[in-house]
């Protein structure tokens, strides 16, 4: 199987071709990419559940994923909570409905913001890191070295990382939601002197189990996507050191693109259950 090396995202290549030619070439490369990502994913499921398991490496990757994104997730979520609440206040105040603020903010954060923002941050921090790490292991022949010592590099490198991103993203998402709600509380408390208990009670009035479940499921899916795309791009890096940068970059762009598509699909499906 030949992976699609030429990314459909490099818009500046080959200026001499006509626009249509460029477009069809990008389109071909895009579908080739999608096809090989599908194969890569299939291989993940074939290899992930067969022993021997690399538990130690999985745990290390859990730590790496959490560690890499925790600081940024904390700051972003706290600021998002404050700003979102502050900006929503005037429109609710117009109807004298500021008492609805906690539940409005909670719905926005738990249903939409937390999964999406966590995923975008993780795509940027973790996805690019995986792409670059595996990419440099590929071009410096470390992956070949593993293969000739009869250690399965896919299992050691890819399976562990994909498991880590898949399991960690829901946790990060829940953490993000809590911190964002604390940010929102800060704003509400400053204006209405609401107590923390009252704020949270109010906030969770409109939140159902389905909301939390669907957000966790979305995060799981996003985490899986980030892991698979980062690993795929890194694992098939070509063109030496230059390729490593490209791998990291396209890992981020493609996983963000897929995250948006998945978001739209999951929202449609979940809404049909409401």
């Amino acid at each position: 199987m030949v992976p699609a090396h030429q990314s459909w995202l490099d818009m500046n290549e080959r200026p001499r071709k006509t626009r249509t030619q460029v477009f069809t070439r990008k389109l071909d490369a895009f579908f080739l990419d999608i096809y090989s990502i599908g194969q890569f994913t299939g291989r993940f499921f074939r290899e992930a559940f067969r022993p021997p398991f690399e538990w130690k490496e999985v745990i290390r990757q859990f730590y790496m994923v959490g560690y890499k994104s925790l600081a940024l997730v904390s700051v972003t979520s706290f600021v998002t909570g404050i700003v979102f609440t502050k900006q929503s206040r005037p429109s609710l105040a117009e109807f004298g409905a500021t008492s609805w603020l906690p539940s409005l903010v909670a719905i926005a954060i738990i249903r939409a913001l937390a999964p999406l923002v966590t995923a975008l941050i993780a795509a940027g921090k973790v996805g690019s890191n995986i792409g670059a790490e595996l990419g440099s292991m590929r071009v410096t022949e470390q992956i070949d070295a593993m293969e000739v010592s009869a250690v399965n590099p896919f299992r050691y490198l890819v399976v562990t990382r994909v498991l880590a991103t898949t399991c960690m993203l829901p946790l990060l998402m829940l953490y993000m939601a809590v911190i964002a709600l604390l940010g929102a509380y800060l704003n509400v408390h400053n204006n209405e002197q609401t107590s923390l208990a009252a704020f949270f009670q109010n906030a969770f009035e409109q939140i159902s189990f389905l909301d939390i479940f669907s957000s966790s499921f979305k995060s799981l899916l996003f985490g899986f996507t980030i892991g698979i795309i980062g690993c795929y791009k890194g694992y098939y890096t070509t063109q030496g050191t230059q390729g490593v940068g490209k791998a990291a970059n396209s890992a981020v762009v493609i996983s963000m693109f897929l995250i948006f598509i998945e978001e739209i699909i999951v929202v449609q499906v979940v809404n049909s259950f409401r």
Binding site: E141, Q142, V148, S149, A150, V151
Partner: protein, 258 residues
Amino acid sequence: MKKNNAHINKDNTVVAIRNLYKSFGDNHVLRGIDLDIYQGENLVVLGRSGTGKSVLIKIIAGLLKPDSGTVTVLGQEVDQLATKELDALRLKIGFSFQHSALYDSMTVGENLAFPLQRHNRSLSADAVKKEVARVLEAVGLSKALHQLPSELSGGQRKRIGIARTLIMQPAIMLYDEPTAGLDPITSMDINNLINEVQESYHTSSVIITHDLTCAKSTGDRIAVLLDGQFLQTGSFEEAVENSTNEQVKSFYDYNFID
């Protein structure tokens, strides 16, 4: 230093290559390669940059697939093997990479323990430590145990790369440019190490190089790779020094002024 050839068993071929072709697009790299490697010998493949030396040993180790032709290693045809059989065969092959390919997120000790722990899961931590110490000693780098690959010099990295293969006690060693980029004295150390490995581990080796000193001091037999084919195979004197081929002659004159 004259090498002693008593250990070579010409009746036992460990690697047999027949009519091997490999291209990358329009780039026809290997064009009909035939080669036998006998048990216990050091075979040097000599050739200029870009002639496909690395491609050749990657095919022997099953990292690349040939377009046509057969490669038989220890009686098994490499590109016909299922994953399990290929892995079993690879345990008997040691591959020293051109740029060492040490795992740079691990210390030297972890690099060495990595293959061993995965293939002998019953081995105790103490036994692993002992083995690691043994091969580090063999390559003369006992003090590097806790260092990271990024803290080592090129020559030291080469040694650790060799040690990492020795820990699995391979029957066949494949060295890709063991002396490239090293100063003459460090090169000589590596050459001696290759000969020591041959003697004490009874390995059969393929040594890929464009360094004539390395070829002369490690090779029992030299095969000259030119334009995708083997031009000549024989002792250093036959294949290089007294070669009648113009390209080999100029390569020799340019490299060897002593």
